[in-house]
Symmetry: C2
Subunit: 190 residues, 2 copies
């Protein structure tokens, strides 16, 4: 995997809801296809789904089994290859510890936000930093109404907002994942 | 809408299946969110879902109603704005006739394919062509195992393949839609 120093994760917890309260969001079945497949296409190390609820983890595991061992793996082996990228974790801490065991150091956290922070970087800056391969990186994607402010502020880097054509900017987490990986890793993005 | 000379469509028919036969594919509920929302973000004219089956059209309309008139429109008004971009059609011909009635001329067809054709263009070439605003454009997205070869070959332009990091390249139609619109219309893609 060319980009095996980079991991990506979707956080179902912590997330904030419309009122700004901390909540746990639900897994969406297409998160598997629409994030695992670009993660495989752009050759990242792994895609973590952070979901603390056991009942939700059960559903995710069942879906994974279908594509990696069940009928789906025979019907479409390329999906099985994408499925093998997916890991389930109960917390962001667990993800960071697992990456540390695997790579020998904690990953730098790369957040995403619609606002600008002191550690906000452009996509070309982030590409340069990642290309040095001096660190391990974990790209964090929020769900619901986004990640709590405290978590965004504790990131090492924050990617600048993806700009639309005007004021409206309301992409899904799957849209954002695909666009972010394309911008960071595709050889023919421009 | 800045890019109101550009339309996008997902074709559930014609599509080819694994064996290369022409089939009609099913609507996926997240196609609404994951294509309508970037279409609204990048300010395209409209997003057509081409689906000839009446039972499928019924499901799509029910979902649209939820987000544009029902509870969803109050819970999240930004989704209602995206929902208003979506149009349902029974065939590609119907889409082209409707665009002709709206804009006074037929759209140029912009295909997508993993292979190269005489009319294949790079993303920067396509941006230059679209920026002239001399034509109306319709971006075609296939489902299943892609669009029939005959349809791809009859396109005016074909976008070069989105390259991953290696040989594996198996993005979902929603991934492709988001990446294509970002590459063609975002002011900060590079």
């Amino acid at each position: 995997m060319v980009n095996d120093h980079v991991y990506i994760t979707v956080l179902h917890y912590p997330a904030v809801n419309k009122e700004g309260r901390w909540v746990c969001t639900s897994f969406t079945t297409l998160d598997f296809h629409d994030i695992a497949r670009p993660a495989r296409t752009y050759e990242l190390a792994a895609y973590y789904i952070v979901q603390p609820l056991e009942a939700q983890q059960f559903i995710i595991r069942e879906q994974l089994k279908y594509w990696t061992e069940g009928f789906g793996s025979k019907f479409n082996p390329r999906r099985s290859m994408a499925g093998s990228m997916v890991r389930i974790a109960s917390s962001l801490t667990e993800v960071m510890e697992e990456i540390k065991r695997e790579k020998g150091k904690y990953p730098k956290l790369v957040g995403t936000s619609a606002k600008r922070y002191p550690q906000t970087v452009s996509y070309s800056q982030m590409r340069q930093i990642m290309d040095k391969r001096e660190d391990i990186f974990l790209i964090l994607l929020g769900t619901g109404w986004g990640m709590p402010k405290e978590l965004v502020e504790s990131c090492d880097y924050i990617l600048e907002p993806i700009l639309g054509a005007g004021d409206y900017n309301h992409l899904s987490v799957r849209n954002a994942a695909a666009i972010i990986m394309d911008r960071l890793f595709s050889p023919n993005r421009c």
